[in-house]
């Protein structure tokens, strides 16, 4: 069985080869966290690929082998590897038997700046990775704080946006300050600066809010994928090779899979739903300290 070093080299070679063909791409999520000094317990690979590079990635995957095995789509939920669905925020899933696992996205679920702007080596920027880790899963939250600290250590004050731990905020603010303009994007920083006792509650509210936004996004995509997933299962394509599956998945996706599921709801409704969910749990006054997420979520609603 291949070592993890071999596996990582395989993924990084894939990224380098794609770039050699003019496709902008970067490793993100777990593997990027390892590169940035924050180690999660995951060994699969997530990459961001410029959506218009989907065709070249498909050709590349078809010719790739890991331990002699060809790749294929994983499961019935994966859309075709096509710019139309990548632009809509879908993720394609591939595997090389049970040896290597690759998830491909064209647009991160959250991004303040285009992910293409901050690529560092083979990896997405620390900011891109940290924004992607604002997930519904509690286990990702310590990673955002750790990545925020990495940004601050590199002299990037954007790191203040990601510190979700009250002790870290309190300790740092005993000696450091943040740029005043960050308060507009993250109002609870003002509570932290003033040593306000409401800080802990505001941090809880913020985490609930960002988790709820992610949960709502996932629910919308899960609902949207059901007819397509059923059609994929009915078609019996799971035994076909990658190129054959790609063609059939594309046909089925045109019939059953909306490219941009978030267009089924307005951004304001989406935000209001999340705020209502938080309001059911925390003191209403803490809603004033929720972060401004227009910049990081808005792109998927455009």
């Amino acid at each position: 069985m291949a070592s993890y070093a071999d596996l990582e080299r395989f993924y990084l070679d894939l990224v380098q080869s794609l770039r050699g063909q003019g496709v902008t791409c970067a490793v993100t999520s777990g593997m990027a966290c390892v590169a940035w000094g924050v180690s999660p317990s995951t060994q699969d690979c997530d990459i961001l690929v410029q959506p218009d590079g989907a065709e070249r990635l498909t050709e590349h995957l078809v010719n790739s082998r890991f331990e002699g095995f060809a790749p294929n789509f994983r499961g019935s939920l994966s859309p075709p590897l096509d710019s139309k669905w990548l632009q809509g925020g879908w993720t394609c899933h591939f595997h090389w038997e049970d040896l290597a696992f690759l998830d491909v996205s064209g647009v991160p679920p959250r991004q303040g700046q285009p992910w293409q702007d901050g690529i560092a080596g083979a990896y997405a920027s620390v900011t891109t990775v940290a924004e992607m880790k604002w997930t519904a899963r509690a286990k990702d939250w310590p990673l955002t704080t750790a990545l925020g600290l990495k940004l601050l250590a590199a002299g990037d004050s954007n790191g203040w946006m990601f510190l979700a731990d009250p002790d870290v905020l309190t300790e740092l603010l005993a000696t450091e300050t943040f740029p005043a303009e960050l308060v507009k994007r993250r109002p609870l920083l003002e509570l932290a600066m003033n040593e306000d006792v409401r800080l802990a509650g505001a941090l809880v509210a913020e985490q609930l809010y960002l988790q709820q936004l992610d949960r709502q996004r996932i629910q919308i995509y899960q609902k949207a994928v059901r007819p397509y997933s059923a059609a994929v299962k009915d078609s019996g394509l799971l035994n076909l090779d990658l190129l054959q599956q790609q063609a059939i998945r594309r046909e089925l996706a045109e019939q059953y899979l909306p490219a941009r599921p978030l267009h089924s709801i307005s951004f304001l409704e989406y935000i209001d739903q999340a705020r209502s969910a938080v309001a059911a749990v925390v003191q209403p006054a803490l809603l004033d300290y929720l972060p401004d997420v227009r910049a990081i979520y808005g792109n998927l609603f455009d």
């Binding site: 993890y4 180690s39 995951t42 699969d44 696992f101 600290l149 250590a153 002790d167």
Partner: protein
Amino acid sequence: METCLTEAQRENLRRVEWEFHVRAFGLEMARINFLPEKERRQALYEMWEHARDKGFRSRQERNP
């Protein structure tokens, strides 16, 4: 927003970061996270391979 840090600021950040990693991830993972990149990767590979040898399978490996 890039700023230049003083040596004292770097040291303070490093201390806060270390203490957070110990609290959030445990002492062993904090030690690994603070290794230079090459050694960090090697330590992770060894840890994952040890887990695999003991029969651990990731979610993807269990449901390919």
